[in-house]
């Protein structure tokens, strides 16, 4: 009997009991939908990291004071006071390939504007930072070199800080805020940037000249970090190596001793995060894969029940001329149709859910053709694999016994 005929018979059989067919499919639908959504979330997260690298510039290098262990004592980043302004000047002047440079210090404190207040990060930085981070302004202007050299009390707000101090629609340029009880004039607002590759919210901070932060807000003379943009991507690693060598000399570090600073390129940081995301994606996909497996087992169970319930029907088919092979094929096709149709619906569900998460919760998702293809393939294989045992059982029934079955 032709495969087409078998197909027809299988479809008719499935159609006869729509409720059972649908319930059987449910496991496959949920399993495939879950896998597609999890993988899309993972890929979306990776994609957004890559986008951030592109938008921040792959040439970025960050030098932070402090390293994990200095002199046998664990210090952590930024805890050391060994990084200084002269270090930054030296890097700018003696290393070729340094395009932009900004020294940085940071602290967290309460900021007051009128009758609103907000606890946020105060980032002391330099005029190059919008260029290094490819960060356009939403309104107003950034600091000038005079602001930095004179430790002027001027501030540029990140979009979240602005929202919490002045409301989402106000333009605070020209207004005064108080940081540690000192008045600062708002001269600009940065555009929204979202999360940095390092994980902090770049919009929830207030930028001031680093000299102002050092002298007027923090009472320190050292700096926490230096942000650099290399002139071109291929030079980035070489520039980073040069910085390490220069600082080791300046800080008089003996060969064999660890650095008292950390130099990292954005790519390294991003790849660390990327690895973490990949691990998480694999884990999520594995969990979702388990639900796919359960879906397959569900299909097998229902097919077994179906075979038992349809014993008389199978006996009849055998009696009127079906061969064992015909019955095997029929039940196998039924299982495969359930799993493939369930798989297709699951794919639709997964794609829809991914799009919904992106538009509703702003979670990045990226649905790939590979994932869809793989999910479809798995669904088909699951159908064949888990459908085979019940189909073989059906085909092996003795027609006489089957016809007598109550």
């Amino acid at each position: 009997m032709s495969v087409l005929m078998t197909f027809l018979i299988a479809l008719k059989a499935l159609n006869r009991n729509k409720m059972r067919t649908t319930l059987t499919m449910l496991g496959m639908i949920i399993g495939v939908g879950a896998v597609i959504t999890m993988v899309a979330l993972g890929r979306g997260a990776q994609q957004s990291i890559e986008d951030q690298i592109k938008s921040a510039g792959t040439n970025m290098i960050i030098v932070s004071a402090g390293n994990w262990t200095v002199g046998g004592v664990r210090q952590g980043q930024g805890a050391s006071s060994t990084l200084t302004e002269p270090d930054a000047d030296a890097i700018r002047e003696s290393i070729s390939g340094v395009q932009y440079l900004a020294a940085g210090v940071s602290t967290r404190t309460q900021v007051v504007a009128g009758n609103m207040n907000w606890f946020t990060r105060i980032q002391g930085t330099d005029i190059d930072i919008p260029l290094i981070r490819a960060w356009p302004m939403a309104s107003g202007a950034f600091f000038t070199p005079q602001d930095v050299s004179s430790s002027a009390k001027v501030a540029v707000l990140g979009s979240v800080a602005r929202e919490n101090l002045f409301g989402p629609d106000a333009d605070p340029v020209g207004q005064v805020i108080r940081i540690k009880n000192q008045p600062f004039k708002v001269i600009g607002v940065m555009s929204s940037k979202g999360q940095a590759a390092m994980g902090d919210d770049q919009d929830d901070q207030i930028l001031v000249p680093y000299t102002t932060a050092q002298r007027k807000l923090m009472g320190i003379t050292y700096i926490n970090n230096i942000t650099i943009s290399a002139a071109s991507a291929p030079q980035t690693l070489r520039v980073a190596d040069d910085i390490i060598a220069l600082l080791r000399v300046r800080h008089k570090i003996m060969p064999g001793d660890p650095d008292d600073f950390m130099v990292r390129t954005l790519e390294e940081m991003a790849s660390l995060r990327s690895e973490a995301v990949q691990t998480m994606t694999s884990l999520l996909a594995a969990i979702a894969g388990v639900s796919l497996l359960v879906g397959g087992i569900g299909i097998m169970n229902i097919m077994l029940v179906s075979v038992t319930e349809r014993t008389r029907e199978i006996g009849l088919r055998l009696a009127i001329g079906a061969r064992g092979r015909d019955v095997l094929l029929q039940f196998l096709v039924e299982a495969v149709v359930i799993s493939i149709v369930g798989g297709l619906i699951g794919i639709g569900l997964g794609v829809g859910l991914s799009k919904g998460l992106t538009s509703g919760l702003a979670w990045p998702t990226s649905v790939s053709a590979d994932a869809i293809g793989a999910a479809f393939g798995f669904a088909a294989i699951t159908g064949i694999f888990f459908g085979f045992y019940p189909a073989r059982k059906a085909a092996g029934l003795d027609p006489i016994e089957a016809l007598r079955y109550e």
């Binding site: 009997m1 032709s2 087409l4 005929m5 027809l8 018979i9 008719k12 006869r16 009991n17 008389r312 029907e313 006996g315 009849l316 088919r317 055998l318 009696a319 009127i320 001329g321 079906a322 061969r323 064992g324 092979r325 015909d326 027609p399 006489i400 016809l403």
Partner: protein, 250 residues
């Protein structure tokens, strides 16, 4: 004219655990085309085993069985399936129709297994023809749960006829039917037997049903113990006409 069924020294032995059960102990008989044979006997007499072998659902342990000129005693399972499809029309006590399926699709079923594809239009035509032969063409699209017991059995008979087989095998065809419907069904068998020359074998333990046939064979202990023509044959159509008129749903 050669017999349509010819068995010679048929034996069938089952092994159940450690015990050998000799269900058939040497059965020989012929059935000529156009006969209407009733097969009777108590349970355990071997009549069911005999019918299973005649119906090619089982193979004999020994002896030969020639069906419509072909020795089918040693065919493979697949070959037997094709023989069942082409040569035998089954009618069962429990009707065995597919639920949630129209009468038309039920009748068509054997056509799906007959070895080569047949176009839907042709299947449709043949199924309608078979349903007309049993008087049910107006209910072609009804499902079994919309049909009475008698109507369901008639659909089953139409299904048995669809491939125009030489013999019809009926296993207690009236077992689930009331008296009047039983007579109607036996009437259909008689009509098919007389008008189309169809050979019919009916297993039954009810002697009054057996009397609609032309010949009664009695089994006991795995052997045929009696084989004689029916003395006073009953005629279903006459009996139906004589019954008091009842509301019919035909």
């Amino acid at each position: 004219m050669p017999p349509v069924i010819s068995v010679q020294d048929l034996t069938k032995t089952y092994v159940v655990g450690e015990v050998e059960v000799r269900a058939l102990r040497g059965v020989s008989m012929d059935v000529q085309p156009g006969e209407f044979v009733a097969v009777t006997g108590p349970s355990g007499s071997g009549k069911s085993t005999f019918m299973h072998i005649i119906g090619c659902l089982d193979r004999p342990t020994g002896g030969t069985y020639i069906l419509d000129g072909r020795d089918v005693s040693k065919l493979s399972k697949d070959e037997l399936a094709l023989v069942r499809n082409r040569k035998i029309g089954f009618v069962f006590q429990g009707f065995n129709l597919l639920s949630r399926t129209s009468a038309l699709d039920n009748v068509e079923l054997p056509l799906l297994y007959q070895g080569h594809a047949m176009r839907k239009a042709e299947r449709h035509t043949r199924a309608m023809k078979a349903l007309s032969a049993v008087g049910l063409n107006e209910r072609a699209h009804h499902h079994p749960n919309q049909l009475s017991g008698g109507q369901q059995q008639r659909v089953a008979i139409a299904r048995a006829l669809i491939n125009e087989p030489p013999i019809i095998l009926a296993d207690e065809p009236t077992g689930n039917l009331d008296t009047r419907t039983s007579i109607e069904v036996m009437g259909i068998f008689q009509r098919l037997n007389q008008e189309q020359g169809l050979t019919i074998l009916v297993i039954t333990h009810e002697l009054d049903i057996a009397e609609y046939g032309t010949r009664i064979i009695g089994f006991r202990d795995g052997r045929i113990v009696s084989d004689k023509p029916v003395a006073r044959r009953r005629h279903a159509e006459e009996e139906l006409a004589a019954l008091p008129a009842m509301a019919l749903d035909d």
